[in-house]
């Protein structure tokens, strides 16, 4: 790289991010600025959200009729495999890491993440890994077809005989994604432990940062276990080891343990940051402090711990001994306690508040309502007898889509609308946002609610054709699915148009508490004019207390609405 001297005023702190937001080319360069990387993550993730969503549209079109008449059965298998894999590995993880990347350093008063270059590498592995996964359409035999869980012995069969096949590419792609996530985990944990601004004690740290910390701890203890399983799987396919080949002394159920030891907690990797966002959005838009902040913060860590002891509930039907089923049934249900505490805290937060039904608030409320429903069906699934009845049916699909779309995607929307003015310096269009919410909320109910009766009646998952008696609910679900597909359009229209020429937002359009609102929108290169010195907690609505000691030099924060 050529040596370029930068004049001092070009890097002056406190100056709005140079060239932003109209200099979109900046986001296509290698950058070590956590804000640029955050937006790179978010935009990349949305791209794969659309790709995975298009696959879901094909799946729902196929299921409009009982016959497998739209796509070939192997194509159908590949579609649901890649839909799941893309949505988990290349949409939900990256978009949440992106939001956390953008927000955590701002919220804890740091200039950047602890390891900016590692951060950039972590991001750039994502498009590489996703391209590898999608490239599997081009190899003989097509992409992986054994679901996003890739259970052996199905996944270790290699009918084409090629070493480079869809399943191998899938494993390599997931491995690259895993390395990226572990590096991200190291980065987040180090940042949160060591880079907090003076005065930012643990219990002055926003609930979102607690949630990110808890989620990243899961990445650090869980992901390596999946990596161990994936290495064994890869060796079984490529060099003929026999870890999961029963005919040679191996045991395929061991893979399930490796897989679910990570992949169940992975749900909390995805949902905890969303809980964090709910905890940030609700107090601002209800003008009240977060009720039970400390308990909500600690409950994130409690979920992290319990989530490591529940994985066998995915294997109740895998010849699991009764004592083990009983143990994991109890631990699974225990997760409901910290989760319930959070919901209670959120309800108490908005109780009696001056609620503003802005788009982020609507998405947060919608997401919480879906979470309550998903939590209840989760309790059903956690109990052994019901699980054995609905195992591998659409009941399960309905349950986890309520978690993944109803809660997590809606929570992500809430977060994006809430912090959009901070990221871009511009305000989104409220009308379009509300239209987006209405379509999404109705779409979620229309597609995922019918899956519950379908599952109870016994419709199996992962099938391209089904018994005609299931057609009624399937047609409703498919129509709901198309509505959900359409719901993305107003969002994209809104974000793109308001990013280009939306009304100027100002530094703190929501009149919110929290360090991120103290700086300009979008924030300058190193976030703050000077490092804030924190003197109180982040939810001081109605308390009329200063947030930082050096506020005068940092910028203004409007007084909370209620006093």
């Amino acid at each position: 790289m050529t040596n370029i001297s930068i004049s001092p005023d070009e890097i002056t702190r406190g100056q709005p991010y140079p060239g932003a937001p109209d200099n979109w080319k900046r986001f296509f360069t290698f950058s070590t600025d956590h804000k640029v990387i955050g937006i790179q993550y978010i935009v990349t993730a949305f791209f794969f959200f659309l790709v995975g969503g298009a696959m879901a549209m094909v799946i729902r079109s196929e299921l409009l009729t009982p016959e497998a008449d739209l796509v070939d059965r192997t194509v159908y298998n590949a579609l649901f495999t890649l839909h799941g894999s893309l949505m988990i590995f290349f949409w939900t993880f990256p978009v949440l890491v992106g939001l956390a990347n953008y927000l955590v350093p701002l919220m804890i008063g740091a200039r950047d993440m602890a390891f900016p270059r590692l951060n950039a590498i972590s991001f750039w592995m994502i498009p590489v890994a996703a391209t590898l996964m999608l490239a599997s359409f081009l190899v003989p035999g097509g992409p992986a077809q054994s679901g996003w869980w890739s259970y052996p012995p199905q996944s270790i069969q290699n009918p084409t005989g090629n070493i480079i096949n869809g399943q191998v590419l899938w494993i390599l792609s997931v491995a690259i994604n895993g390395v990226s996530s572990i590096m991200g985990g190291v980065n987040f944990v180090t940042t949160i432990f060591r880079m907090r601004a003076p005065g930012m004690t643990w219990f002055r740290m926003p609930a979102f940062c607690w949630a990110v910390l808890a989620a990243q701890l899961i990445q650090l203890y869980g992901l390596p276990a999946l990596t161990g399983g994936a290495i064994m799987l890869l060796l079984d396919i490529t060099i003929g080891t026999s870890f999961f080949r029963p005919e040679n002394g191996g045991n395929p159920v061991v893979y399930q343990h490796f897989f679910w030891f990570y992949s169940h907690p992975a749900v909390y990797v995805m949902v905890l940051p969303v809980f964090g966002m709910f905890s940030e959005v609700l107090p601002v838009h209800a003008r009240k402090p977060l009720f039970g902040y400390r308990v909500i913060a600690v409950s994130s860590v409690v979920i992290t711990v319990i989530s490591g002891c529940v994985w066998v509930h995915h294997m109740f039907a895998s010849a699991t001994p009764p004592w083990m089923r009983m143990f994991f049934m109890v631990t699974t249900m225990l997760v409901a306690v910290p989760s319930g505490i959070k919901v209670f805290g959120w309800v108490a937060t908005i109780w009696g508040g001056k609620i503003r039904f802005t788009t982020p608030m609507l998405f947060a409320l919608g997401g919480i309502s879906n979470w309550v429903f998903a939590g209840i069906t989760g309790i059903f699934l956690g109990s052994v007898p019901i699980d054995l009845h609905v195992h591998n049916t659409y009941f399960v699909v309905g349950h986890f889509h309520y978690v993944l779309y109803g809660t997590i995607v809606m929570g992500i929307y809430a977060g994006i609308y809430h912090w959009f003015p901070k990221m871009t310096g511009r305000m989104y269009y409220e009308g379009l946002g509300k239209l987006h919410f209405a379509l999404t909320y109705i779409g979620v109910q229309a597609i995922f609610l019918p899956m519950h009766p379908l599952g109870l009646q016994g419709m199996p998952r992962r099938v391209a054709s089904y018994d005609p008696e299931f057609i009624y609910w399937n047609v409703i679900a498919s129509l709901g699915g198309f509505l959900l597909g359409v719901s993305v359009l107003p969002f994209i229209l809104n974000i793109v148009s308001s990013w280009i020429r939306g009304p100027k937002a100002g530094n703190n359009p929501w009149r919110a508490y929290g360090l991120e609102w103290l700086t300009t929108s979008p924030p300058p290169v190193e976030n703050f004019e000077e490092i804030p010195v924190v003197v109180s907690g982040p939810y001081g609505y109605g308390k009329n207390q200063p947030l930082v000691a050096n506020q005068a030099r940092l910028g203004t924060i409007e007084e909370p609405a209620t006093s």
Binding site: I4, S5, E10, R26, R111, R194, P224, M232, S242, G250
Partner: protein, 210 residues
Amino acid sequence: MTAERAIAQDIESEVRHAQEHDEAGNSKFGFIVFLLSESVIFISFFVGYAIFKTTPVGEWYPPGVTGIETKEPLFNTLILVSSSFVIYVAERYLHDYLEVKKNGKLWGFRLFMLLTMLMGGYFLYGQMVEWSGLPFTVQSGIFASMFYTLTGFHGLHVLTGIIMQTTMLRRSFVSGNYDNGYFGVEATSLFWHFVDVIWIVLYILIYVWQ
């Protein structure tokens, strides 16, 4: 703003950022977190090993094999474990050199780092000899799969450690290299201790528990 300017600005920002924060402390903390995470991969292999061994689906050992030779691997183990002390001595020499520069014992660091590398290299050589003398291949059943994967994966870590040591040794010939502390050497040393501890567990699992 051009991309080059943007990158130059990032670097400028990083330098200042490094001055404000205890970057070496962050690196050490981060590296320990990474090692803890890395150890879970090995733990998952170890747990897998225990499950496969205690709840056998078929034969544990390949046909004609009743156990595995332990003497030479034990010698190898002693070499590897002692190298952990050797690299510690190297690190102390560097520490003393940087604290009291006039004594000028950088040669001590270089000597003991080189010794560590040689011991690591000898370990790998010993493992190669062992592998080539074994009567089974990776495809000979579950024990063979587990054996080659565990020792091979560990061997890769040893190799990584040796590469790190080579880099650190080479760096000691670059002047002014220790102006920002010697975290690289600390990380290499930590990694080497980690590789050793993993080997001890691995040795007990594979060679002792037969």
